[in-house]
């Protein structure tokens, strides 16, 4: 049955998206590794982790879209799930440093030696093993989202209130992770990573592999989201988004549907965070900042919420714009970002992809009506259900 659900994800445009993502996963690393330096088609070294970062952001935006675009839950705390995934990966990478740190302590990471820790805190146990860290990447954001969502949805906290308490959650976590006594490196976070699974992080091949992994992870999450959205469950999610009370009166357990979407979304966000950290080389409490979480929302909104391609396009576009702006006109980036928020909500409520799709449908309808006026008896195509 699961296979059937997954297969259903592959009809229509989805197969193209997956194909393109896989092509990118192969082409970018290959061009970086095998084309000679200076070749016009070669992706420069510093571009590989940058593009990889965009892909993890795209995954994060996709995760947010699943709850916001399809279930109507505007989470202003998705950065927290991303950061938890990142911290879990960061802890693994810290333990991998071993005795190569500044203080050469074989067990304790540098910051713990610096803060006079005598032994490893209990929650750092097991992070020297990759499989354990990988489980935690999924488990920690998932459990947090499950517990938080279970309380929130059961008491029917909805709309703006939910947005505000998710923001409060990530703000509280931000303050907590800034504390040195938390045992997560405080203000400086975790950094100075050396290698992952034995491969040095600075090496071109490792970076290429991480990029490919990000692209494939994005493709996989796209398939999963697509499957969820196209299943019967996905239809109920849309119903919850559009008329929550009516759905409840029809006999659906709205809370459970929302909880499922929220938890699944948090897990995807956590995986994105785990892929982000080795490519960027640092994770610090700044990732918990409420402003970061709101920025994720704007990626999704720009691309088009309620479509699965939209958030991917939006995240890549906005972040590419950010990289370009902060390089060329650093003081204007906030103007541009702020203007984007205002303009998109006012003029492009469906985002770029939504607007394009709308334009396409309108064009088709025009052609059909033109044909009808010509007297030809072409049957009008049923418009897509969106």
């Amino acid at each position: 049955m699961i296979t059937k659900t997954l297969l259903r994800a592959f009809d229509g445009k989805a197969i193209w998206v997956v194909a393109i993502l896989i092509a990118i996963a192969v082409a970018v690393p290959a061009s970086n590794l095998y084309l000679p330096v200076g070749h016009p088609l070669r992706v420069p070294n510093h571009f590989v982790p940058l593009l990889g970062k965009y892909l993890t952001y795209a995954m994060l935006a996709l995760a947010l879209d699943l709850v916001w675009g399809y279930c109507g839950i505007l989470s202003l705390g998705h950065g927290a799930f991303f950061a938890f995934g990142g911290y879990a990966m960061g802890m693994y990478l810290m333990r991998q440093i071993g005795d190569r740190g500044v203080y050469a302590n074989p067990v304790l990471p540098d910051f713990m030696v610096f803060l006079n820790y005598q032994e490893l805190p209990w929650f750092w146990y097991g992070f020297d093993m990759f499989w354990f860290a990988a489980i935690m990447v999924v488990l920690v954001p998932g459990v947090l989202a499950f517990v938080f969502g279970w309380f929130a949805f059961r008491s029917r906290v909805t709309g703006v209130y939910l947005s505000i308490i998710t923001q409060a959650m990530t703000y509280a976590l931000l303050l907590a992770f800034f504390r040195n006594d938390m045992g997560f490196g405080g203000n400086n976070g975790l950094t100075d990573f050396k290698d992952i699974l034995g491969a040095p992080l600075q090496a071109g091949s490792t970076r290429a592999a991480l990029f490919a992994a990000s692209a494939i992870a994005l493709a996989l999450s796209f398939i999963v989201c697509s499957a969820i959205v196209r299943s019967k469950l996905g239809k109920v999610l849309v119903a919850v988004r559009d008329a929550e009370s009516r759905t409840r009166f029809l006999g659906y357990r709205v809370d459970n549907y929302k909880l499922f979407a929220f938890t699944a979304s948090a897990v995807i966000a956590g995986i994105a965070g785990a892929l982000y950290v080795p490519q960027v080389g640092i994770i610090n409490p700044g990732e918990f900042a409420p402003a970061n979480s709101i920025e994720i929302v704007i990626w999704t909104a720009v691309g088009g919420r309620g479509t699965l391609i939209g958030p991917i396009v939006g995240a890549v576009l906005v972040n590419a714009g950010k990289s370009w702006f902060t390089g060329v006109f650093p003081e204007f980036w906030l103007f541009a970002l702020g203007g984007l928020f205002v303009a998109v909500t006012l003029f492009l409520p469906k985002g770029i992809v939504g607007a394009l799709a709308q334009g396409w449908t309108a064009l088709k309808a025009q052609r059909v009506s033109a044909q009808a006026e010509d007297g030809s008896d072409a049957a009008p195509e049923p418009s897509p259900a969106e």
Partner: protein, 538 residues
């Protein structure tokens, strides 16, 4: 008997005589000062007493300098001066008048030497000058410094002064100082018990320190008395600490109230999520800065009125900005609260960057007018004027707003539109106009909050961001659409925060509060004072 004590007794007798017949024995101060460097130590001691006997207020400073070893004779003219070392040279001032006399190398000066006996003489002479001064405030200060030093040598001097004292406040202070000295001396048990009781009755930190200091050396039969006194003081101090915490909490609560009250209008009454609210507060603070800049450069005499000028201006500026925001952006987004949230967030980024571009990224200095600086003691509490004024201001704003909502036509229309927009429109209320006015009112109040916050917080482009989450917490906790809820919510959160701080630290206290609010909203999704309604989807 120690010779100094004998001398100081004589001295006091002399001083009393002078008090009876002022000027009778007074020698010329200047000639006494010039006689100071001459002769040996005993001659000098005599001059010191003569100087003290003049009762001249200027002498206290001179004697102080002598005791510190800062008194010199200038070799060229034999003038007595105070020299403070600065680098290689000495900065000179006249010993009596304090007149600046430039600098000189050490070779041009000769130090007026003092030994321990002279130092004691100087100390008692100063004490006599100050403790017997005609001005009660000088006497009070002298008694307080005696309380701190608790020098057993000053006991007799103090007794004499106490006998002559008439001012009750000074007298109490002197008695306490005397008790502090008695505990240290080898006086009789009864006398010591009385002294300890007196100290315990005073009940402040100084008394606690004195008693704790005396505990180690006290006789065994005194121990329980001291223990009891210490326990009593600690109990009283704990109570005052609690009150001080309440005060700090109220102060924080009033700041929260100010920041949140504008939001209570725009979010609570209109249902508009205005994420740019903090930036409007910031605009108010920058208006204050601009007003003060103009006053500093053009009308320095008006500085004490700067806040009174800034308040209406800030209201006007921010209200206009608010109306522009409502007309330009928010009115297109009614009924889509989440989109409003995003658009106003974008607006907040633009406003921040605008202010950063115009005024620069650093903190701007906004001064306190004289009536807002300083502090006063109320019983055991130390209360700063600016905090007090802000509490008063927050309550006044709250009361005015309540009156506007409940007693004016605009308030009536605002409530009507909130409760049933279509019905209100059918009754002839121009709902778009009311929307714009409501938003303008909420923003204007946020701007006035900015004027107040500029007095206690850094005025920087990030000012608003630090308040926005707290403000939302207050409004949501208090209950949306209810001003009283906002008041109770702000004060509760403020006091709770300050009570948690001593146990958990500032950051953990804040985290606890956030977690508490998250859990609280689960229990009561509509806040402390929810509006009752029957609609399924609010």
């Amino acid at each position: 008997m120690h010779p100094t004590r004998l001398i100081s007794k004589l001295l006091i007798a002399l001083a009393l005589l002078i008090a009876v017949a002022p000027g009778a024995f007074a020698q010329d101060v200047e000639s006494l000062v010039s006689a100071l460097p001459e002769g040996d130590y005993s001659d000098r001691e005599k001059v010191i007493f003569d100087l003290a006997a003049t009762g001249d207020e200027r002498v206290a400073g001179l004697l102080n300098a002598l005791g510190e070893g800062d008194l010199y004779v200038r070799e060229e003219d034999g003038r007595v001066i105070v020299g403070k070392r600065s680098g290689r040279n000495y900065t000179l001032t006249d010993a009596l008048t304090g007149e600046e006399l430039g600098t000189a190398p050490s070779s041009a000066l000769e130090k007026i030497r003092v030994n321990n006996r002279l130092r004691r003489a100087v100390r008692s002479a100063i004490g006599q000058l100050t403790l017997m001064s005609p001005s009660p405030s000088v006497r009070l200060r002298a008694a307080r410094s005696l309380l701190r030093n608790a020098d057993p040598d000053s006991l007799e001097l103090l007794d004499t002064a106490l006998a002559a004292e008439t001012d009750p406040q000074v007298k109490t202070m002197m008695e306490t100082a005397r008790a502090g000295i008695i505990v240290k001396t080898d006086a009789g048990i009864e006398e010591k018990v009385a002294a300890i009781d007196l100290l315990a009755a005073r009940g402040d930190r100084e008394a606690l320190a004195m008693l704790t200091g005396a505990r180690s050396s006290a006789a065994p039969e005194l121990q329980p008395v001291i223990e009891r006194g210490i326990a009593g003081i600690e109990r009283e101090l704990a109570m005052w600490d609690g009150l001080q915490n309440v005060w700090y909490g109220l102060s924080l609560g009033s700041v929260l109230l100010l920041a949140a009250i504008g939001l209570a209008i725009t979010f609570g009454v209109m249902g508009v999520i205005n994420m740019a609210h903090g930036e409007i507060v910031m605009l108010g603070a920058y208006t204050t800065f601009a007003v003060q800049q103009v006053i500093r450069t053009s009308f320095p005499g008006l500085f004490d009125y700067s806040l009174a000028i800034a308040l209406p201006l800030a209201f006007l500026v921010t209200a206009l900005v608010g109306i522009a925001i409502e007309r330009g952006i928010i009115r297109w987004l009614y009924g889509r609260p989440l989109e409003t949230l995003l658009a106003t967030w974008g607006l907040s980024l633009i406003l921040q960057q605008t202010v950063r571009t115009i005024f620069g990224p650093n903190n701007r200095e906004v001064g306190n007018p004289s009536w807002m600086s300083g502090a006063f003691d109320l019983a055991g509490l130390s209360i700063t004027w600016n905090r007090l004024w802000i509490i008063v201001f927050a309550l006044v704003v709250f009361a005015v707003l309540l009156a506007v909502l409940n007693r004016t036509p605009l308030g009536l229309q605002m409530r009507a539109v909130t409760q049933n927009r279509r019905m209100a429109s059918s009754m002839g209320i121009r709902t778009p106009w009311v929307d714009a006015m409501t938003f303008g009112l909420g923003s204007g109040i946020a701007g006035m909050a900015g004027v107040a916050l500029s007095q206690i917080d850094n005025v920087s482009p990030n000012l608003g961001q630090s308040y926005i989450i707290d403000s939302f917490m207050v409004v949501v906790f208090g209950g949306v659409g209810n001003l009283w809820g906002t008041l109770v919510g702000a004060l509760t959160l403020g006091v709770a925060n300050k009570f948690l701080e001593p146990y958990a630290g500032a950051v953990l206290a804040k985290i606890f509060i956030l977690v508490f609010i998250i859990l609280f909203i689960q229990r009561r999704p509509r806040g402390l004072f929810a509006l009752k309604g029957r609609a399924v989807d609010a």
